[in-house]
Symmetry: C2
Subunit: 322 residues, 2 copies
């Protein structure tokens, strides 16, 4: 397996990407790593026969307008994705601009035959383990047919990567009753019911972290808002707890005693364990990592990429959307 790694992507790049490479060579010495960076990053690469430096000339900033990409064909994400197109790499991972990664993959690798539009999935850390939600931002405007494809692509992904047979598919709506929803979700409901998928019906925001589903389907607007609302709520709550737990000596002592428990909760809610979000529907394996990814998340992303390759995920996705 040969994995292209964007050294420049992410809030903590290149320190974190370089550290991840070092870790990867130890954990998975059987894989090859094509490390894409400028001269200054390549000079800092760990020395290992598994690591091949690939020079790029620029980078796409996290908040840069995606339309710039077409004029930045020397950017790390474009160069890394081209490696897959040329057959020099089997997969790519990046913690850089999600929009740029998705655009590069769509333009260079193309879509799987039959796929209308690629989607971005994310694995949510639920009370019952990882569950897939898609789309979380690639497609703010959707049709029922598009959402049906997301369901098919998502079900294929959790089958291939999470090993789930006959995945349960929920439709994110404003209530669990069958008649609830927007015009979009009502029409999607009808399609999903006839789809042959294991369709659970409508589910709502508060079901997202319960984990009583395997794939949650929604348009990119609702998915993005749900995801960030949960991130924000958890962040706000943690901040409030921190303030309260240091309010007096008694609580400070108590906080010291429960600290390991808080860490475990933080750990189990940590997306890092799930190694990034797959880009579904492009003709190749491109794993999107959170901008704030640490080594662990990047390592996991490579493992997820290899699972995609070994389970022939892209091929199976093509069969699912037929």
């Amino acid at each position: 397996m040969r994995i292209a790694i964007d050294l420049l992507g992410g809030d903590n790049a290149p320190a974190v990407t370089l550290a991840a490479l070092e870790e990867l060579v130890k954990l998975h010495p059987e894989w090859e790593y094509l490390a894409v960076g400028r001269e200054e990053e390549l000079a800092r690469l760990p020395k290992a026969p598994q690591i091949e430096p690939v020079l790029c000339g620029s980078m796409m900033a996290m908040d840069e307008d995606v339309r710039n990409l077409i004029r930045k064909k020397d950017s790390s994400i474009w160069v890394a994705t081209e490696l897959v197109k040329q057959g020099r790499a089997d997969a790519i991972i990046s913690a850089g601009s999600t929009g740029a990664q998705m655009t590069a993959a769509t333009l260079l690798l193309g879509r799987v035959k039959g796929v209308q539009r690629p989607a971005i999935g994310t694995v949510l850390p639920t009370l019952q383990g990882g569950r897939l939600m898609l789309d979380v931002g690639a497609n703010p405007d959707c049709t029922p047919e598009l959402l049906l494809q997301f369901a098919q692509m998502g079900a294929t992904y959790v089958h291939c990567v999470l090993g789930i047979e006959n995945p349960r598919v929920g439709l994110l709506a404003n209530g669990t009753e069958d008649h609830k929803g927007s015009e979009l979700t009502k029409a999607t409901f009808a399609l999903l019911k006839e789809s042959g998928l294991n369709f659970l019906g409508n589910r709502e925001g508060r079901d997202l972290l319960s984990g009583d589903y395997d794939v949650m389907v929604c348009d990119g607007m609702c998915g993005n808002i749900a995801l960030k609302s949960m991130e924000g709520a958890i962040g706000a709550l943690m901040q409030m707890l921190k303030t309260q737990f240091s309010a007096n000596l008694r609580r400070k002592l108590g906080a010291a005693l429960v600290m390991s428990g808080m860490r475990e909760v933080k750990h189990s809610m940590d997306y890092q364990e799930y190694g990034g979000a797959p880009l579904l529907g492009v003709n190749g394996v491109s794993i999107i990592c959170h901008g704030s990814s640490k080594e662990r998340a990047l390592v996991r992303a490579c493992e997820v990429a290899v699972q995609c390759l070994e389970s022939r995920f892209v091929e199976k996705l093509g069969q699912a959307v037929k």
Copy 2:
């Protein structure tokens, strides 16, 4: 002030509504309360000259199809709303079915002149205090013109009830950049920019609990999903903490020491303090309480109702949407 109270609405009715009445008579003996219930609930009313019993024959269940309302004109929510229509009450509060309350208000009280569709707001417990988000479920499908009206109605509400001058209005989207969003939010962005409102631009899910805004505007689908996603995330996190904090003796001891801090956090994130969500755009004051409201929330809802009346909220809303 005469407030109609739906004794039958809510998960904890009538015990909680009866207890709230007792509290209200103590706290606000200057107001009158029209308590709407069946004979069995009216028999349990606290004895007080401020409380007037009003008989109804049935109720709308929490999960009952709203379309049933039209055939249940003896239901508590219909009878209570009629009291406002007849001028016997100035406002109504209920913790029953949101859909039924909204439908009763729309059919009986009608919309404020100029209002296309009423919206449901909710006051979010942010790190900086209460902030209004709307719509949270009444309108799953919206137009840009509708969202503009929500902004105008929301700004009027926070001005009248929360006392905020020149409220800052955010538009909920899938990113903070101006070019982000769906077709709907992009068109709304343009309208809000020209509206004369204090428009902040796009905001995302993780901004909802930060509180760097006064009014957050969105369609009912996104608002509902955001709200319930946050509720679900906080619930899941609290559950995980509880499990971890009782995992061993050391943590149990620590948990006992920080318990008061956890309670304060729970309290500050509690919607009960904000007393329910206003129904905006109907020609009268109708305050929607959370189904799981306790006494405190119902008391606050009555106080909010009176603030609406004293600030002439409905009249000002009509001027704002002109």
